[in-house]
C-alpha cells in the first residue's frame, strides 16, 4: 500500500494546499453542473418534485465507498489511514435536525451557497452571511453547552464496527438502499410531471 499519498509522505503541507485548491475547483465545478447553484432545485428535493439532491449524493457516496473498498482490497489504499469522522451521537442527531430545518428555510447548504454566490445568486450571498453569523453565535454560546457537544461519544466508529458486519456487506446494503431510493425518486418525478402536465 502506498496511498493516501500525503499520509505516506509523498508531499508536504504546502503541496497539499495546492492540491486542496485544485480539488476544490473540481468540487465546485461539479456542484454547479449538477444544478446545486439553484436554491429552488435544492429545496425542490423536500417537495419530492426534483430529486437531484438525493440522486447526486447517493451516487457519489456509492462510487467513493466502493472505490475506497476496492483500492483497499487491491492493496493500493490503506483504509486505516483515512480520517474517519468521530461519532458524537447526540450533537450529531440534534445538529442534523437543525440543519435539515435550516436547509428548507435557507435553500442551500454551506458548500452550495458558495457556488451559488459565485454565479450571482443574491439569496446565496445572504445565506453565506447568515451562516457566518450562526457560526459566530455558536462560538459565543459554546461554553454554555460544552458538555452536550461531546455527548454520546463513540469514537471513530464505522457502521461495520458497530454492527459487527463486514464492510463489504454494509456497502452492499447501502447500494441496495440507494437503488431503492433512485427507483422511488424516478417514480415520484414521473407522477408530479404527469399531474402538472394534466392541470
Amino acid at each position: 500500500m502506498f496511498t493516501p499519498l500525503y499520509k505516506y509522505g509523498y508531499f508536504g503541507l504546502e503541496i497539499s494546499f495546492v492540491i486542496a485548491f485544485i480539488i476544490g475547483l473540481l468540487f465546485g465545478f461539479v456542484l454547479e453542473r449538477a444544478g446545486f447553484s439553484s436554491s429552488r432545485k435544492l429545496a425542490g428535493q423536500f417537495y419530492l418534485r426534483d430529486n437531484t439532491v438525493l440522486k447526486v449524493m447517493f451516487t457519489a457516496i456509492v462510487v467513493a465507498m466502493v472505490g475506497m473498498l476496492y483500492l483497499n482490497w487491491a492493496e493500493i489504499f490503506d483504509i486505516t489511514r483515512l480520517y474517519l469522522n468521530p461519532t458524537y451521537l447526540w450533537p450529531q442527531f440534534v445538529g442534523g435536525i437543525i440543519m435539515g430545518t435550516g436547509f428548507v428555510i435557507g435553500g442551500y447548504c454551506p458548500g452550495t451557497s458558495l457556488v451559488a454566490s459565485a454565479i450571482g445568486k443574491i439569496d446565496a450571498m445572504f445565506y453565506v452571511l447568515g451562516s457566518l453569523l450562526g457560526m459566530l453565535i455558536f462560538g459565543e454560546v459554546y461554553p454554555l453547552f460544552q458538555e452536550f457537544t461531546v455527548s454520546g461519544a463513540m469514537g471513530q466508529v464505522t457502521l461495520s464496527d458497530w454492527l459487527h458486519l463486514r464492510p463489504g456487506l454494509i456497502a452492499f446494503f447501502i447500494i441496495l438502499f440507494a437503488l431503492g431510493m433512485f427507483w422511488g425518486a424516478d417514480l415520484l418525478e414521473k407522477k408530479f410531471a404527469h399531474e402538472e402536465g394534466a392541470s
Binding site: E32, A60, G106
Partner: protein
C-alpha cells in the same frame, strides 16, 4: 439578446463525477471534502483580528486560533476557495452568470432574502454542533461509513421533509 444557458448534467453523471473527486481526495490526502469548517475558520480569523484576547479566552475559537496559530492555514480553507472559483468557472462556461434572487412565485425578493439569512444562520449553528455539514458529514462521512455521519444524514433529511410544508410558499 442573451444566449441560452446550458443544461445541467444528469444527476447520475454528476454523482459519479463527485464520487470520483471524493475518492481522489481520499487517495491523495487521506481525508474527505468539506465546507463549513473553512467558514468557521474565517469567522475565527475575523474575531482574532478584532480581539485576539477574546479568542484566547473562548474554548471554541481557541481550538482554531490563539497564540501564533493562524486559523486560515488549513487544507479546507484552500479547498473552499477552490469551490468558489470552480463554481464561477462552471457558471461562466454554461452562461449562467446573472445577479438575481431566486425563489418560488408566492414570495417577494425581500421575504426570500430574510429567510436566506435566517436559514443560513440556523445551518451555520447546526453545522458546528454536528461537526460538519452536507459535505463533511453527509457526503464524506457517508462514504466512509461513519456511524455519527449516517445518524446526521438521516435526521437532516427527516427534519427537512418534516418542516417543508411550513415553508412551501417560498419554493412552490
Amino acid at each position: 439578446m442573451e444566449s441560452e444557458s446550458q443544461k445541467y448534467w444528469s444527476p447520475y453523471a454528476a454523482g459519479v463525477a463527485l464520487g470520483l473527486i471524493l475518492l481522489l481526495t481520499f487517495v491523495l490526502m487521506g481525508r474527505g471534502l468539506g465546507a463549513s469548517g473553512a467558514m468557521m475558520r474565517s469567522v475565527t480569523w475575523a474575531v482574532d483580528t478584532v480581539s485576539p484576547a477574546h479568542v484566547d479566552s473562548n474554548p471554541y475559537f481557541s481550538k482554531y486560533a490563539g497564540g501564533d496559530k493562524n486559523p486560515l492555514s488549513n487544507w479546507l480553507v484552500f479547498e473552499v476557495i477552490g469551490v468558489f472559483f470552480g463554481g464561477l468557472l462552471s457558471g461562466m462556461l454554461a452562461k449562467r452568470m446573472r445577479l438575481q434572487v431566486e425563489h418560488g412565485p408566492r414570495i417577494t425578493d425581500k421575504g426570500r432574502l430574510v429567510l436566506a439569512l435566517t436559514g443560513g444562520a440556523i445551518m451555520g449553528f447546526g453545522a458546528r454542533l454536528a461537526l460538519g455539514c452536507t459535505s463533511g458529514q453527509a457526503l464524506t462521512g457517508g462514504a466512509t461509513m461513519a456511524v455519527g455521519s449516517w445518524v446526521f444524514m438521516l435526521t437532516m433529511f427527516a427534519a427537512a421533509f418534516g418542516v417543508a410544508w411550513f415553508f412551501r410558499k417560498q419554493w412552490i
